[in-house]
Amino acid sequence: MNDEDFHDGDGGITVTNPWQRLRELTDARIGLGRAGGSLPTAAQLAFQLDHARARDAVHMALDTERLMPELDARFPLALRLHSRAIDRDEYLRRPDLGRQLSEQAKQELAQLSLEPCDVSICIVDGLSARAIHEQAIPFLDAALPEIERLELSLGPVALVEQGRVAIGDPIGEALGARMSVVLIGERPGLSSPDSLGLYFTWAPRSGRRDSERNCISNIRPRGLSYANAARLLAYLMREAQVLGASGVALKDDSEVDSHLGDGRQGNFLLPP
């Protein structure tokens, strides 16, 4: 988005905001100006365009053909699984089906005879296949070395269609994993149709509550960087092993965000 997108050439009927340039600091729609007290036409139409794009992103299909070779190259075994939700329409109305494995997926997992592992990674389309297409592989390339440094063993990676967060539980359980990492496309925002979420669960099994997970949100180039997200995941993995739990009990007290300083200075509203 740039200033031109918001230009209304109406000879001064709309009021522009001199703080427009603060948009360097945030993707938020600040300094939009006003027509009376209302949104000027250009800003209104820019919003409608972004909403249309986000609506389209929700309905995009996961490109498994492209992703499977990438996963095969990084994991000893890559599985392609499907939830019980048959298509996008059913997925949107029936979140319960998105949390469960299809019969075929269950059978496939049951036929594997593998040693228990430390970490099960699931890659799930969620509400934005685009987030998986763009962020999953670069994030893995940042996270896998961290997991290796912790000397944790990796189970098979699962690529899941029409899935929700909790589908990582039956998968992790079937693989005998001590902990589960679910990478999932977050619901698309207007300015971020490509945002990846990560959910970490200690001792995954069906029926885990949301409060038993830790979430790392907004992983994408203009959000939380791959490297910082990977470090945060490594922190969660270390602490969960000490605590034997994840979720509310595991406070995120890492120093990842220490660049914020003490909060009393360091931005233009609070000059020294």
Partner: protein, 478 residues
């Protein structure tokens, strides 16, 4: 459990429990269909509403929807019920109660006195018999006023929560949205950040930053970082300047457990905030309204903790949890949960009005996050309708965010411009203390709107100065 039945046109409709009857009587909701408890036909829904209308209000005191022994929210509701306050409506059926609420007997005074005598189940039941205009009319009669550094909920006033979220909690990015909001006359309910992580150090840092902004610019408002109550308690222990303690709450003990809380923990959070002695507008010079709660239909089902009850009734039960802790702010985040619970604009609009009505009737200072996600069948037109209706209903506050786009939570809520629209159309004013600050700062004047064009108000001139050199002082920006 007692069976309920009604004969309509030669056909007998049976409902095997009070909970079943309530669910069948509930206006159509995708979440109730998901739970398999919705009416199976349009006629069955009206039959249930007719049966419900005949039911004495006292039924809800005798027949808890979730057993007393099983659920601490039920225990809270029944233990706190005030029989004396209930007396004026004690002999009424649900249908008669609707008439009473619409009558002249129900005014600001009588409704305020009645609130402790009502249970969430009673108000949920009557709401199921009401049309949108009933929900607006009765909601508007209720006044629930709260105070911290300003006064929220006065008649003819509309406050806003300035929500300057940033995906990485970047201090300068957040500050940019705060400036934008203040210059669009937003932020009297609270300046409240949803942090991207629950990291305690980040929370402490953000609280210090907000505290410094509020004190340096002498803004009569309060701040909040919307983190889990346990993180807030820890931040307070570390000396963070905390005005309000936040928590998401729901209407059953099990759903609250899903949020990692119980009533005892909320009590602990409130005591931690009170121990700081901040705020200062009640008769003792201190505010008792130190809590901020968010709710939303569907949260109990989402946590698989709904006991077979409909989402609207469970939502009303969350307000019983809220009122126990004398909150400054409570808002339903009505369209956030997604289409599996509220499918489209029509369902979101009705739910937002029900939530406001039920909360207000129970004495809760209701606001509303008028919102939708990109996977719901809703758009800006739907939000405009709910916004306008809630303005007419006397909603205490709405959200304010730059251009309706929350770049952290990935959903759309009301913008600073939306609040200006509502104030203009309905003649609503900000909280009085905040309005005085806006006028003194040259930002906004009632009846005139935004009071400056291209030149920033003097209090904020130095920001323009920093930009004049051609580069913004980006501080610690990425």
């Amino acid at each position: 459990m007692a069976e309920h039945a009604i004969d309509i046109g030669g056909r007998r409709y049976r409902f095997d429990s009070l909970g079943t009857l309530m669910a069948a009587a509930s206006p159509r909701r995708s979440g109730d269909e998901l739970a398999g408890i919705a009416a199976s036909s349009a006629e069955e829904r009206v039959a249930a509403q007719m049966a419900l209308a005949e039911l004495p209000l006292t039924t809800f005191l005798e027949e808890p929807l979730i057993p007393y022994e099983e659920d601490e929210v039920t225990r809270l509701i029944l233990d706190r019920h005030d029989r004396a306050a209930f007396a004026p409506v004690a002999s009424l059926s649900v249908g008669e109660f609707r008439n009473w609420l619409l009558s002249e007997q129900a005014d600001g005074e009588s409704l305020k006195a009645l609130a402790p005598g009502l249970t969430p189940e009673m108000v949920a039941a009557v709401s199921k018999l009401m049309r949108v205009q009933d929900l607006v009319l009765v909601g508007r009669k209720c006044e629930v006023i709260t105070r911290f550094r300003n006064t929220i909920g006065l008649p003819g006033r509309l406050s806003t929560r300035l929500q300057p979220n940033h995906p990485t909690d970047d201090a300068s990015g957040i500050a940019a949205s705060i400036l934008d909001g203040l210059l669009y006359a937003s932020g009297d309910a609270v300046i409240g950040i949803n942090p991207a992580t629950d990291n305690t150090s980040t929370v402490v840092t953000l609280l210090k930053m907000l505290d410094e902004i509020i004190s340096r610019y002498e803004i009569p408002t309060q701040s909040c970082v919307l983190t889990h109550v346990t993180t807030a308690i820890e931040a307070i222990e570390r000396g963070a300047p905390t005005d309000l303690v936040f928590q998401s709450i729901a209407g059953t003990e099990a759903a609250n457990r899903g949020f990692g809380i119980d009533l005892a923990l909320l009590r602990e959070g409130r005591e931690a905030a009170l121990s700081l002695g901040r705020g200062g507008l009640d008769s003792n010079g201190l505010s008792n309204n130190v809590m901020y709660f968010e709710t939303g239909q569907g949260s109990a089902l989402s946590a698989n903790a709904h006991h077979g009850l409909d989402q609207q009734t469970l939502e009303a039960r969350a307000y019983a949890v809220a009122r126990e802790f004398e909150p400054l702010l409570v808002n339903t985040v009505v369209g956030f949960i997604g289409p599996e619970y509220l499918f489209d604009g029509k369902q979101i609009i009705r739910a937002g009005l029900e939530d406001h009505f039920c909360g207000k009737l129970l004495g809760v200072p209701m606001g509303c996050d008028i919102c939708y996600t990109n996977h719901a069948e809703a758009d800006q037109d739907d939000m405009d309708m709910l916004l306008t209706l809630l303005g007419a209903a006397g909603c205490n506050y709405i959200m304010g965010i730059p251009g309706s786009d929350d770049i952290m939570l990935n959903y759309q809520t009301t913008s600073f411009h939306d609040a200006l629209y509502l104030r203009q159309v309905l003649g609503l004013r900000p909280a009085p203390e905040f309005e005085a600050w806006l006028e003194a700062s040259g930002i906004y004047r009632h009846g005139q709107g935004i009071a400056f064009d291209r030149d920033l108000p003097s209090r904020f001139q130095h920001v323009l100065g920093a930009m004049g050199s051609g580069t913004v002082d980006t501080g610690t920006a990425r």
